[in-house]
Each structure stands twice: as C-alpha cells, then as structure tokens.
Symmetry: D2
Subunit: 395 residues, 4 copies
C-alpha cells in the first residue's frame, strides 16, 4: 500500500503544492458566494494546470489525460480533495469526470467529437440527470421520466432534480425509461440532451443548506417538457442505462471516497493547528486538553482506516475487476462517509465559534458533505445490500 | 411533571395553533433570505400576538408580560421553538429576552425608561456583546475589551463578534473590563452602549454556515474604537458583570433547552410524516424499514428524556433557586444539545436528498443549531465543571 | 417527581442503611461462588428485615406487605438494586415477586393457600417457565410446550430454559399452549407445576457468562416430560396466559428499570470514589483526567434522565393505567438498558485491571446485566413495536 | 496487502483446518472449567501440531520455529485467534511467546539453556510479572517492587498481580527497580525468578470476571518476600527493563491485534450463521431483519478496516522498524480493541439468550476480552500519547 512509485510521488508533491499555493487562496470566493470572480480565477488556474500537464489525471493518455490507474488517481484525488476547488481545476470534477468516462466507453465517434472533446478541453460543462423529486433515490429503478420514440427522435418527458452543475452546462446525460415493459434493470437508457433544446427547462437551482450556488457549484431542478433529441443521442444500447451507470460505480466510488479522505486530512490539519495555537488560558494551549487529544487520536485512526479500505478496494478493482470488489465498494461508501462526518464534527467543535463561521472551509464541508451519507445511495441501502450478499454465503 | 394547569393548557393550545397557522408559513422567507418581506410580515404577526395578549410570556405582568413561571415559560418556549420564528413573534427572542431581564433586575429608572420600555413594546431591538474573536469563549473571564473612566464617561475599546442581532439594534449591552486588578470574576462590568454613538462600528455580519443573515437573524462583528458613554450607563455595580450574567444563566438555559426540544419535536413530526408518506417501492412506505423504526424509537426516548430533565431543572430552580440546581443546569446544556443533534441528523437522513434542501427547516437547524454544542459554553466545559463538583463530593 | 413523602423518605433511608451495612458485606460470597454460606447468611438478613417490617414492599398490606405504590416501590427498588442481593433480602426478588402478583390477582383460594402464602412468608421459592431454547424469546406467541387435557389433568410436554431460580424452587408457573387453534394471543395458559411431580426434570443450570450459579442465582433448563397436574392448577381462565403476563409487564418493567438505576448509582459511586483515590502519578488523582470527567458528567446526565423517564412512566401507570403508558413502558426498556451498559462500561474502564476482577461488583454486573438488553424482549423488539404505534398516528 | 505467498497460503489453510477440526472441539472444556482434561487433550494437540511442523510460528528457524515474518505471523495469529485455545497449541501463546523473544534477544547462553530451550520445546511454562495492584498499570514507570543487591544475589521484594499463567509456571520474568535514582525509564530491570525459590508466593489466582481459572488460563497475584536469585539472572544490562519491554511492544501488539481480529471473524461467522438459521417467525429468518443487516455490514467494514491497519503497521515495522511505526502501533491498540468490543456486542445480541450462555464462545470473549481496552496500556493512555506526538508536529 505504501508502494507509491517515484513518478507518482513527484506528481503528488507537485499537485499538493499547487493546491496549497494556487487553489486554497480562492476558497473565500466560494465561501462568500462571489461566483463570477471565482469562475474567472478558476479559469486561470485551469490554464496553468493544463500547461503543467496536470490535467485530466483519470483520463487515458490517448484522450489527453494523465492515464493514471485507479489507485494512482485515488491518491491524486485525496490531495485535490483538500480544497473545495481542487478537482475542478484539474478537470476531474463530478459530474463531468463521470460523463467523460461514459462517453469514452460508449460514445459514438460523432458523440465524442461533439460532446467529449470540448469537455476534455474544459471548454464546456455537463450534468448527469437521474434523481427525481417524486421517487426515492434509494431505489434507482423506480423512475418516471420517459423517452418515447417518435420518428427518428426520442421525446423526453420528466422531472429531475439534483442534476449537479446543470446551471451553465452544455449538455445533460439523462436517464429515462425507454423500455417500460422490460426487466426492472433494463428499462432505462442514457440519452444525451443538449441544454439548448426546446423543452429543457432549468426550473431553479435548488437551495441546498441555504445556498442555491451558481454554475458548477449548484444543483439543478429540471423539467423535460417533451424534449426532442435524435435517437443517435442514445448512449450504448437501448435499455443499458443501468448497466452503464453500474460500470461507473466502482471507480466513481473510489474517487469520491478519496476526495472525502482529502477533506478529512485538511480538517484534521486545521484542527491540530488550531489546537496548538489557541490558548484556553494564558500559556495553556487547547492541545493539552485530553478531550482534544482523544479527538486527534480517534480521527487519525479512523482516517488511516478509511484510506486503507479505499485503496484496498481500488487495488482489488484494478486487479480483479469491479464484480470481485463489490462488497468492498459497498462497504467504503458508508464507512468513509461516517468517518468524514465524525472528523468534520470534531474539527468544527475544536474551533468553537470560529468553526461555525466561513473563515475556514470546515463549516462548508460540515453542511454540504452531510450529503455524503445520502447521494450515490444512502448508507442504509448499501448496508442492506452488502449484508444480504454476505448472509447468503452462510445459508 | 404532567401537572399542567388548565389555564396553561389553554394558552399552550392557542400558541400552538398560532405557530402552526401564522408563523410556520413565513419560514420560507427566512430560508430563502427574503429578509425584508420577512420583517414586514413578522411585524404583522407581532401585532396580532400582542393584541391576543400573547406577548412577553416570560416577563412579569407589571411590565406588560404574561408573568409565567420558569416551568410555564419552558412549556411555551418548547412550542415556540417548533418554528424558526416562534420566539421573535412573541417578543421573547434571544438576545432581547435576556437583556430585558437584566434591565428589569438591574436597570435604573432612567435606563428602564430609555431602553427597557421600547424593548418591551417591540419598538427596538438590542444585542449582547461579550464574545471576542481573540479570546476563547470557553473561558469567559479572559477578555480584552476595556472600559476606562474619563471624567463622567467610560471609554470603551475592544473587538467583539457573535453579537447576535447587532445589525439594526438600538443598543448593545457590552461586557468590558473595568477593574483589571480585581479578582478574576470581578473585573468586568455590563455597560449600555447605544449603537449610534461614535466609535461603535458594526464591521460586518459574520458569515455563519454560509449565511450572513440580516437584522435580527445575524451575528455581528463589532469594533469599539474608543466609544464614549456616560457612567450612568453602567448596569448594576461596577465589577458585577459576571455576577449579573450568572443570574441569567439558569433561566436562560431552560429557555434555550426547551426551544431545542421544540425543534426536536417538529423534526420528529417531519420525519414520521415523511416516513409514512414516502414509498421506497410501490406500496412499501419508508415507515416499514426497521432502521427508520429504530430512529423513531430512539428519538422518542431521547426527546422525552431531555424534556423531563429540563423541566426537572426548572422545577428545582423555581423551588430552591439556581444555586441548588447548578448541576442540573450544567447537565442539560450538553445532554439536550446532544439529543438535538442526533434527532436532526436522523430526521435529515430519513428525508434523503430532500433533507439537504431548504424545503423543510431541517437543513437550517442542522447547520445553525450545530452551534448549540458551542455557544453558552461548549459541551466540554460544562462536562468538566459539573464533573469537578461531583468528584469533590467523593474526596 | 421530587415529591417523596416524609414517610417514604424515612423508609428509604432505613433501607439504604440496611443495604449498606448488612447486605453489601455479603456480596463477596456470591462473587466467589460460596453459595451455601451465602444462603445461610441471607436467611439471617431476611429474618432481620422481616422483623423490621421491611418485607414485601410491593405487596398489599392485607397480604403482609408494605403496600407501596408503584412509584414508591420504584424508589425502594432503586436502593435495593445497589446491591447484588438487595431484592432477595426483602423478598421482592424476581421471579418470585411477579409470581406473587399473579397469584394475588388470579389465584384461587386453594392456590393462594398452597403456593402464595409460603412464598410471601419466604419459606419457599418459585420460578417462571416461559422461554424455550428452540423458539425466539422475541416472539412470545411462538411456543412449543403443550398442555393437553386428560381426564381432570393437564399433561404438559415441552422444553424450557432460562427458568430463573428453578434450582430449589417448590413450584413453577409454566406457560403452555392449551388452545392451539385459538387466536395467536389466546393459545397459551399459565399453569402451576410443583417441581416434585414426576416428569419435571431440571436438566441443568445453564452456564451463563461462565457461571452455572446455584439456587436462586441460577437459570434452569427444564424438560417437561408428560408432567401431569390437576386442571385446578390453571391460573385464571384457559387461554389467558398472555393476558396475565401482559398485566405484569408494566409494573415489572418499572421494578427492573429502577433496579438497573440502583446498579448505575452504585457503579457511579464506585467510579467516582476510585477516581479521587487512585493516582496516575504521585499527587495526580485519576479524577483530574478530562476523560474521566467526561464519563462522570455523561453518566450523571444519563442516569438522571433514566430515572426521570422511569418515574414518569410509573406515575402514568399509577394515574392512567398501563394501556395509556404503553409507549413509555416500551421506551424505558431499551433506553435504561442502554444507560446501564454504558455506565457499567465506563465504571469498569475507570478501574483499570481492578475493574476486571471480582473485588468490586462491577465485573459481575458487566457480564450478567448484559442480559438487560435481551430478556423481557430484546431492545430491537421494543423499538420496533413502539415505533410502529407512533408511526401509525401519522398515517 | 493481498500479496500472501503461495507457501503462506498453504500454511494458513492447514492451520485453519487444524483449528477447526482439532482445537475448536476442545473449547467446551475451557468454558465448563474442566481444566485437567483440557490440559491433557491440549498436550495431544500440541504434539500433533509439533509433528506437523506447525510449532513456534513466530520463532526463528535456528531456534526450532517456523521463522515467519511479523506480517506472516500476523496472518497466522488471526487464524489461531478464531479459537480460545489456538495460540496455546502452537506454543505461541502469551506470555510465553514474549518471554521467548526476550530470552532469544537478551539471554546469556546459560539462561537460554536453562529457560529458553525447555520453553521452546513446550516442556515448561513461564509468566511475566510486571503489573502491581497498588500502582496504576497506565504508568509503567511507577513501580514499587525492588531488587536490591546483596553479595552476588538480587533480593526481590514486591507485590504483583495479573501475572498471567503464573499458576504452574516454572519461572517468572520480573520487573523490579534496581536503580532507584536513575532517570525514570532506566530504573527497572528484568530478572528471571524460578517460581520454586523461597519467598516466591503465588497468593491466589485472581478472580477475573467470575473465574479464577487454572494453570495457563489464570492471572496470578504474587508476593515476592525477599526472593533471592543470583545476579546472573539479570536479563540484558541493569536498568534496561523498560528498553527491553519496549522492544517487544510493536511485535507483541501486532500479535494481539491479529488475535483479536481472529476473534472478530469467528464471532462474525457465528452471528451470520445464527441469523440465517434462527427464525423470528415461521419462515422468516433473523437474517431478514434490517437491524441485523446493519450489524453485519458495520461489522464487516470495521473488521476489514482493523485488519488493514494492523497489517499496515506490521509492514511498516518489518520495513522501517518499530520507531518509524510508533504512531501506527499506538493507533491499532485502541482502534482494534474498540472494533472487537463492538463486534462481540453485536454477535452476542444477535444470539439473544443463547448469546449469554457458554454454548458459544461469544460470552467468554465478551467478558474476558473486555480487558483488551485495559491491558497493555488502557485506550486512554494510547490516545493521549499518540495525540501528543501528532500535535507536536503542528507546533
């Protein structure tokens, strides 16, 4: 596990410095809702990263990326996760990163030319439109949005929300029922929908934890009012929507979890640094309080455990494929999300009133990363599914 | 404990309906940062509440209040706490409620005329200015703000933050060191400072959990740059700042804790209602999931426990005074704050993605009431102080 | 809640002293498995308690008891619970106490004469035989033991275990299916079975947490091999077995929970006393460690909460009956059992290696009271049933 | 981490089968306190293991062991830990295993001949005598036992307890103060004391969790009443007692933690097997309850995390030495002990009443492995020490 190659070590070190020096200073713009200057400055940082060859770490070299393995990109993702803005600068942010993978794997040459290439170059953004307000996200096969064939088109009707980064996106990948009478997991397809087509309506950016956000940092509610797109916008075979989503699952999970670990490490650093600096009485730093020491020790243990579990899962995917690693991929979802929440809670508490403010990123993570236990399947669903698989082996 | 008088029962029932019908519908204005219409509509509700005699529940009748006991107001406070805006409408919101109590107890006739009476009438607002960014709130005797006598004035110099509702307040009650060489708890005084005086500068409303808020719903950072006020603005004797603050502690704790319990009850209602309505598969409501049932049962037990503890403390204060009840007053602080956090966490999780949005008040409480474990002394400080008292009895 | 009458206060004070001076010194006999001298000395203490009028606190005066209310006996039960042997000395130990209540309520004059009176006088002991090894205790209606009528007799066949105190008991009250085709809750009856009848076989005292125990302090596994008893041994109407058991539930729960609180208080005292006495370095008592202080504060809060909840349930039963209080009766089961486990865990840990030994009663409680979360319905069953009732109200 | 060599894989498989087929069937003898037949049968199994070359896995081949690395023996230790008796059969049980390591590293040729060789052959047993009842185990430098030079002898006076397996041991390694005025960590020495010498008195086997045990399965309280041994019994240099103990720490920690993980895995297997077999209602296995599923998922995640952490620490020790790995060695102590306690608690609860009995090994582990959070330094001490090291890096 500690076998990081010298090349990777150098990349990680470069990225770490970049994050520290170039990206973290921009965080206050996000925390203060100054989205326009933020986007302008992020573009400069993207250009700089691109010029340094630090671009698309997870994407194969033939597509202009760095071609890292899952484990290697996991390591990168942890470091990027230290900043609220890390992934965006290197063009490996959700949801674009996942959409790139889908297009690379399943896109036709035309789809790649039109949608993938500008995405890889960072010229456009995209979104993934799956979750519906009327149906539980915990049951992904229960979906109301429909795509009906008319002539050579699909006509899409439905209501989505939590389409992250829809605001300003050039296209959406939409999950819609195309085969309503097929088996449960073969009813939906993934279809590319340019956001400029008639009938695509971004109703609003949903207010999440008090913030509607803007652009990439937003969660769109979308009405698809009879949106018409050519059937050539279908990704992969009809009815393969879930199968394609499933493929992204393992690697996506690794990226997410490593990002969370990056958050944990930054919050841990902030907690420790504050504890040695802040005095509870003249000459008596907070760091001498045993309760703080307990939090430091418990956080350190939990973060280490989390990282080892995620890397172990990544190795297993790299070596044996996703199917072999499906228990591990389920386990890290709820385990790492739990660690994240506890570490953030302790870091916030250790900061006292300062922890409630937006002068550190802790409060931002505390409120927004609460979603870690919900999106991509709530903890409860993952616990149930992994437990059922395990228990069957004892039957 | 279940001995609520018929009169109180009727008051509680009236207030409950008022909160449900008149106040809760205004919550989206707060959640969407529409502060100006919010304030206008709140004023209407205040007028209505006042005309119904539901005004200043905690204030003696001779001052125009309802004259409830601590236990009775606790019960009222729970019901008001069900809404984000409950206390404000009945003019018993922090920090004004505490400032009223101080002025009633320690104000001179002139101070009462000038500051208390318009506050009671709801014509002005006030703030309490104690916490300092450079010093730990957990150690209230460590304070840098100074009030130095010059002629018949005090000249106040210092830096405060988390002066809740300073934005738009007419006056602040400021804690400042007047007797630097006195015993630790006799150094500070409470002094009335009109916010219009030269040198009083509201630097900003601190961004807390992503929101700067406005007016009553804000936390001000204030510079006192040589503010000059007459010495007649002193509250009580010089050096009595802590003693006066201490007096407010027990009753203030009861109000806070009962407000938290009101929040718990509303969140519990929202969780249960969502669980019976939301289906995880057609015909299978969320309420049938055992994990949800565990949360319901555990939350019910913890909320009941919390209420009994707070009422028990209130009875003890009413019957034997604050000193006798100081263990209980310490215990409820961290115990109820812990229950609050767990209940909100479960309610949010039970709502899934909806729980992250501002379409329910849960996300607001989740982020802002995180402060419950920090303000008024962090949990850790209360645990330590009550434990020390207990352990001494075994020595 | 703090309204203990002067009479009760005096009784409690007397009992407290009796427990401290007379009973606690016998505990090492139990902890060291010296059952014979233990039983002899307990008999002396029983005689003494009886002569002081401290006998059968929960039993009506016309039956020779003290005639306390549920709330009053709850207070007594807490104090008795401070010792491993408290309840036994005052003849209000499980399972005899419950059996007395059943016989008083449902026994015929002959049954009372034969079984109740010697039980009240402390001359004999009894057991309650319900749990079966082959069927889950969590589903009380699923039972294999049968009682079939033959002539004027019942012939009972079945296999029971955890028939506490069967070893040396004069009779058992046996739950057996008499009406196999009736509605689920009307199939079983309670039947008195003298242990001397042919076919009654105490297979063994089950080894529980390493100890088989002896006499009252044991859990019997019993075979009923065609045991024949007259039908006059039936308690109440045929098929009323569950209804009768149900009646005992509320009061039994109160007794148990208050006993657990007594255990908590004693463990808390031991923890605090050890913490002030034990030094971690010369001159630095354990009590100064913040972690210990956290445990003291958290334990104090939780024990107080637990007591208030149990007394609140007891008041409600006294005032409005069991049915009105059924939520509370469910809630205290798992809530108080949870507090008990946490308090014992902390007390043990605070004692270090000493906590693992039998030189304090903590290790005994740690291992044997682990059953508190299991017997009388596991936590999980109570959570589910109370949650279902609550959720129905939101449907 | 998953890089187990084919050779090791075969060894593990053989040992796993041996444990399952030969050792687990003996467990009831221990659980029922039938120590004499137990010891006889264990001797047969030892002979068999020895003849199969499965003997002393952790000991270098030149001393007759299998010569496994720390990581490899960790893997073995996990499998042995699945049974209460696993380590004993392969002669790698505490405390002998540690004593062997000390003798190999620091023993003179004479000491090796007299004490080490028969130990390696399994002909004798030994104990390690360090903990004192009057001094806190959490502070190892605070010790009262003294060894004073007289002529060519040491005269040892002191009081020890928790000298595991002293009952029947041929010699003890005793920690005693030899240099009272030296620096704190250089005061004590390790001295070999044959138990047959005058003045060595095994006062009793301490009753731990209700059991005094016998022979290897016991914890001795020992008085050293002026015990006289030649100075040639000193291990290593005088004053090096702590330094030598320190050396054993890392590897010993790995063994312990891997043994705990073996316990976790066995308890997990028992829980899952019970859950699929036990029905809560006809046709409805316990395994379908969501709460059980939560326990399965959480346990699986935590056990995996624990194993990865321990192996990671072992790799680091193997690769970089103990000093480099001292954070990891501290972290696994409390982290794995915590996992162990939670997994056992869930497994016990899942078994219901059966879990309280000695018909599975769960109750044994539940009570005796509670000590995991205490011996070898309580959790609290390890948290504090690792936190202090970490926090210093932020100063």
């Amino acid at each position: 596990m500690n076998d990081i190659s010298p090349e990777l070590r150098m990349i990680l070190s470069t990225i770490r410095e970049f994050v520290q020096e170039e990206i973290i200073p921009l965080e206050p713009l996000l925390l203060n809702h100054e989205y326009n200057p933020l986007m302008a400055q992020l573009q400069e940082k993207r250009d700089k990263a691109h010029s340094l060859g630090l671009w698309l770490p997870q994407i194969p070299q033939e597509y202009g990326g760095m071609g890292l393995t899952l484990v290697e990109h996991g390591r990168v993702s942890e470091i990027l996760g230290r900043s609220l803005l890390g992934h965006y600068v290197f063009n490996c942010q959700a949801p674009d990163a996942g959409n790139m993978e889908i297009l690379i794997e399943h896109g036709t040459p035309e789809q790649k030319e039109t949608y993938l290439m500008p995405l890889l170059r960072g010229e456009i953004r995209s979104c993934f439109s799956m979750t519906e307000p009327e149906n539980p996200g915990s049951n992904p096969t229960w979906m109301s949005t429909k795509a009906v064939k008319e002539g050579s088109d699909y006509v899409i009707t439905g209501h989505k929300w939590f389409s992250t980064a829809a605001d300003g996106a050039t296209f959406a990948i939409v999950m819609a029922i195309t085969n309503p009478t097929a088996a449960k997991h073969e009813r939906a397809s993934q279809i590319i929908v340019p956001t400029a087509v008639p009938g695509f309506r971004l109703v609003r950016n949903t207010s999440v934890m008090g913030e509607r956000g803007m652009g990439w940092a937003s969660h769109g509610e979308i009405m698809y009012d009879g949106v018409r797109v050519p059937q050539t916008n279908l990704l992969g075979p009809e009815g393969a929507g879930f199968a394609i989503a499933q493929e992204r699952l393992g690697p996506g999970r690794i990226h997410h979890c490593m990002r969370w670990i990056g958050i944990c490490e930054r919050a841990f650093d902030l907690m420790c640094a504050h504890a040695v600096r802040r005095e509870v009485a003249p000459g008596r730093p907070l760091a001498e309080q045993q309760t703080i020491q307990n939090w430091v020790a418990e956080s350190r243990a939990e973060i280490n455990a989390a990282r080892l579990m995620v890397l172990d899962a990544a190795y297993k995917i790299d070596a044996q494929g996703q199917y072999a690693a499906r228990d591990e991929v389920s386990l890290i979802k709820f385990y790492v999300a739990g660690v994240l929440q506890r570490v953030l809670d302790r870091a916030l508490q250790a900061h006292g009133a300062l922890g409630m403010t937006d002068e550190t990123p802790i409060a931002y993570w505390y409120r927004h990363e609460r979603a870690a236990r919900i999106y991509d399947g709530p903890d409860e669903v993952h616990k149930r599914s992994v437990a059922r698989r395990i228990l069957q082996r004892y039957a």
